[in-house]
Point group: C2
Chain length 203, copies 2
Amino acid sequence: MKLYDGGRVPNARRVRIFLAEKGISVPMIPVDLGKKEHKSDDFTARNPLQRVPVLELDDGTVITESVAICRYFEELHPQPPLFGTGAVGKALVEMWNRRAEFELYLAVQAAFRHLHPGMAGYEVPQVSEWGEVNKGRAVEAMRLFDRQLASNRFVAGAEFSIADITAFVSVDFLKAARLSMPDDMPNLARWRDEVAARPSATA
Amino acid sequence: MKLYDGGRVPNARRVRIFLAEKGISVPMIPVDLGKKEHKSDDFTARNPLQRVPVLELDDGTVITESVAICRYFEELHPQPPLFGTGAVGKALVEMWNRRAEFELYLAVQAAFRHLHPGMAGYEVPQVSEWGEVNKGRAVEAMRLFDRQLASNRFVAGAEFSIADITAFVSVDFLKAARLSMPDDMPNLARWRDEVAARPSATA
């Protein structure tokens, strides 16, 4: 198997952090987005959406979408569980991972893609008004997570999960989007520092 | 347990179709979005994001996010499997369900919410330029699914799954967004008719 990796982009990083938490090593093939290698015919044949990361199995099966790749490895290597345990635990991880994606990650991503001059050739067209709306949404989303983290060590409860990985790469993505964590979110800051200190955070 | 249901909105419908496919009956509490009942203090205490559906368990645990609710029921009632089977099967359902959500559903939803006059009080602010961009994205997404369905009976392969439910409610949502399926997508049309004929489609 091989993982087509995209370097610093948040979705590629999510998968690398997930693998590091599991202690799994997968052969990586770098995809240089700056050189638009993800737009090549070769890459497009694997993922018509032209996005990283992409996992290719030995039989040629292609799995795209970061969370789908993570779920594949969760099935192969259940320990430590990063998608929750038990019906309620799995549902709560799913819920918080989705809140991290739809409320936080998408907002930060939209602020970045629609406002950053460097993204003009990638996000076509850039809709600056939409980027501005999402700046506010990113802050609202951080407030939701700050409240949740007031009474929970991790995003989905007592255990570290994929929801923490999604939220962490989103918060780490703030700077690229020219946003920052507001000062009145001590729980979110405490959690960010704790996750940043895990060895997986450098993956 | 009780399910706070939102009537005709696509996310509420996804969960009802999923339950119908499983043959599960859950007590429903209607939430009238026209009367903004989802903005009430009572509802907001359950879901600060003020969105339906919401599942409340007998011990007071609240599960939001349609797919998280579905996953809870998949764990309790594994048959028929709607999230795939085996590591590869589960990953492919996850992948196609996410493509259905991020490429198709979000595009149709954005076209509806940012362009429909009736949504002016719900989507604040409406960004019409963003709505227009998403009309084109919805068509691109349909083309991706049309190609996939040329060689697969269902969205994620040979078996019906939650990816079909997500894609189906998205296609059914086109009309509200003043969009329609292009005529040159015979595979998507074939699949839509097949899914629409299942008893669950009326749920």
